[in-house]
């Protein structure tokens, strides 16, 4: 069995981008050619991978800025006297159906569909207009000519095609495009809506967990996603750590789950914070559609869709924090929502942690590694050195002690290229892109 992880560590090409604002979401498109980031200021920056060049064998397709646009602006709700943040919570790409690329971006309340088009040719030789577009004096026109398309500098245009507003009372935490490529869903704390991509004036409510009396509220929706292949299936996670798989064919309102995935609480680990740390912050289907990956505060778990009683695999992300839960509760870090990601072949999973660390777990070899995304330790073509957190006992050189961890440096958003060993890591307003140079194919 080829241990790709070792190769990944030995040779890595990294580059980073400094963005204007704190990055709030990162997403590759379906081919991996484009990478979109959303930030706290409502901006979206799209990076494009340069085609590999034979002339520069070391340039294995770098990512460069392709387009930047303002997706959302701060809004003011006069009725409730509150400001709606422009921060982009999620971006999801639509599968490409023609020359243009489309993506959905959302803030707390409004989802927008954007179309990204390229223009690299322009018509020249009009009969009635001159070069600047001004109308010609008709008396000077003596012959008829056919305008020709001439190349021009590439221009990327991003236009808003749909605005899906007024669908949510609470904060939107997820959007997910259906495999039918016609519908998508958006989830807030208490409800999930189904939209048609072409219809903006109405949506269909498919999940509603709002209790009749708000005083009975004990659980909220934290994340949701459509199944990658079955357009009738979707999953949503809750703040109590449960996952509900729903089938839209069963009933119009999917309040009754088809499957409930829940791991019973471990009595030996029970504390006041048990519920908070079990709250699922992200859920992702595997590319195969057979498994689900969930992230809660201390672990990542792999669930088999055929087994509801417990996850098939559990990986400790930073168990050394278990004894520090009290202070993490005090400073609100315990409420941080980390995302998780699968690699293209579903053999490795990745998630972020504190101190700008991120972790990878190889499901086959059961090996794991801690890496750091920082400018100090990452230079172009540098080796990514594994890091270690020591909890007392024998301390090696370059180990970091738990008490020296910087909890303000958190990697909440990570993304993995759909087919290659390329990852995007967001650390505050730094975007790191790490590429495995030696092995760019999945194993």
């Amino acid at each position: 069995m080829f241990m790709w992880l070792l190769t990944f560590l030995m040779v890595a090409f990294s580059h980073f981008f400094l963005l204007a604002d704190i990055i709030s979401t990162v997403e590759f498109n379906h081919t991996g050619e484009l990478l979109a980031t959303g930030d706290k200021g409502g901006r979206v920056v799209i990076f494009q991978r340069e085609p590999e060049s034979k002339n520069e064998p070391y340039n294995q397709g770098e990512y460069n800025v392709y387009s930047t646009f303002q997706s959302h602006e701060p809004e003011f709700d006069y009725l409730k006297s509150l400001e709606i943040e422009e921060k982009i919570n999620k971006i999801k790409w639509l599968p490409q159906q023609n020359a243009a690329h489309s993506l959905l971006s959302t803030n707390d309340k409004t989802i927008k569909l954007w179309k990204v088009t390229e223009r690299d040719k322009r018509p020249e030789g009009y009969n009635l207009k001159d070069e600047e577009g001004k109308l010609k004096d008709l008396s000077t026109v003596t012959s008829l000519q056919v305008p020709v398309l001439k190349p021009m500098d590439l221009m990327v245009e991003v236009t808003p095609r749909r605005i899906f507003a007024n669908g949510h009372t609470y904060h939107v935490n997820s959007i997910s495009v259906n495999s039918d490529c016609e519908t998508y869903m958006s989830a807030d704390d208490l409800r999930i809506n189904l939209w048609h991509l072409a219809i903006t004036d109405r949506s269909f409510n498919i999940v509603d967990i709002k209790p009749a009396n708000m005083e009975d509220l004990t659980e909220v929706i934290t994340a949701s996603e459509f199944h990658p292949h079955h357009c009738n299936l979707f999953v949503y996670s809750s703040s109590k750590g449960s996952l509900r798989l729903c089938d839209m064919r069963a009933s119009a309102l999917c309040d009754k789950h088809s499957k409930l995935f829940e791991e019973p609480e471990d009595p030996s680990n029970r504390s006041f914070f048990s519920e908070i740390i079990s709250s699922v912050s992200d859920v992702k289907f595997s590319h195969s559609g057979r498994y689900m990956l969930t992230r809660d505060y201390l672990t990542v778990k792999v669930w088999d869709l055929n087994m509801e009683t417990k996850p098939i695999e559990t990986y400790q992300v930073h168990d050394y924090l278990r004894s520090k839960l009290c202070s993490l509760y005090e400073n609100d870090c315990i409420f941080d929502k980390f995302e998780c990601a699968w690699n293209g072949s579903d053999s490795v999973i990745m998630t972020g942690a504190y101190n700008n660390f991120f972790r990878m777990f190889d499901r086959n070899t059961k090996r794991d590694v801690t890496l750091e995304a920082s400018r100090e330790s990452s230079k172009p073509r540098a080796i990514l050195k594994p890091r270690r957190v020591c909890v007392g006992g024998k301390r090696r050189k370059d180990d970091i002690s738990v008490d020296s961890l910087d909890f303000t440096k958190k990697i909440l958003h990570t993304a993995w290229h759909p087919t290659e060993n390329i990852i995007a890591i967001a650390a505050t307003n730094n975007l790191y892109i790490f590429q495995d140079k030696v092995n760019s194919e999945m194993h």
């Binding site: 009725l79 509150l82 904060h171 704390d189 703040s239 006041f272 409420f335 303000t408 958190k410």
Partner: protein, 264 residues
């Protein structure tokens, strides 16, 4: 104008560090105190993070269960999680507080344009209400404005007008006797201004009217017998006109916690 005074929700989604801002809170020595502070802080926000709120509330409930179990059992040694002795009243009111707070979320949520039809079931929820409009039969449109107006002006008053320097208005005009004229003119707002119990430095309803008139440059009013309906008031650009408020039959309960302005 409203844009300046409105608090932006702090970046709590990303786990920003929260310092206890409430000056009246005791030093956070126990989890219980920390949790109560968090709960109140969460509700001070313009739009509370529902997940955070629910998780903190559930944690508090867990602590309550634990304490009740401990109270039932033999005398347990002081544990860091147990609240200080004498907090039994706090314990019993805690659950009520959490329930009432979450109730209010449901109430205010009815104001949202996305779900106007839910006003009906929520209007019947228990508990004393600060919004006087709730007592009348709910119907859309004017009622929404009424509720939102009263909601806006009650707890929102302090925050919205915080940064306005009202020192130039601090003169004899605001003494009770001299205000009688304004109060008489305000007419229907009187009862509502009585409902606004609180610190003396809070702007009164009629004070608010006067302030707005001055700001929009309306001609000075003279004390006159209350007209059948107050004249239309100029309103700030972007806001809806505030119709006259119905008289409030219920006084605001004094034990309510500060600013549960949970607009959901």
């Amino acid at each position: 104008m409203l844009g300046k005074g409105v608090k932006r929700p702090r970046g709590e989604m990303e786990g920003g560090e929260t310092e206890p801002r409430d000056p009246s809170a005791a030093p956070a020595t126990s989890l219980f105190n920390i949790s109560m502070v968090k709960l109140h802080q969460s509700l001070r926000r313009v739009e509370p993070n529902l997940r955070h709120l629910v998780l903190v509330a559930n944690t508090l409930r867990r602590m309550q269960e634990q304490m009740q179990r401990e109270a039932g059992g033999p005398a347990a040694p002081d544990s860091p999680e147990a609240p200080p002795a004498g907090d039994d009243l706090l314990l019993s009111t805690m659950d009520t507080s959490i329930s009432t707070i979450l109730e209010d979320l449901g109430q205010v949520e009815a104001l949202s344009p996305a779900r106007p039809e839910e006003e009906q079931p929520l209007a019947g929820a228990s508990g004393a209400r600060q919004e006087p409009a709730r007592t009348s039969a709910p119907c859309l449109g004017p009622l929404e404005l009424l509720s939102s107006a009263s909601y806006l002006l009650e707890d929102g008053l302090e925050d919205i007008f915080e940064d306005i320097d009202t020192s130039m208005y601090d003169c004899d005009l605001w003494s009770p006797t001299s205000l009688s004229g304004f109060k008489a003119f305000s007419g229907a707002e009187d009862s509502d201004s009585k409902a606004l119990a609180g610190a003396e430095d809070r702007l009164d309803m009629s004070d608010l009217d006067y302030l707005m008139d001055v700001l929009v440059g309306a001609p000075p009013r003279s004390p006159a017998p209350p007209p059948p309906a107050p004249p239309p008031r100029a309103h700030l650009p972007g806001t809806r006109p505030v119709p006259p408020l119905a008289p409030s039959p219920e006084p605001s309960p004094p034990s309510r916690t500060q600013c549960p302005r949970s607009p959901l």
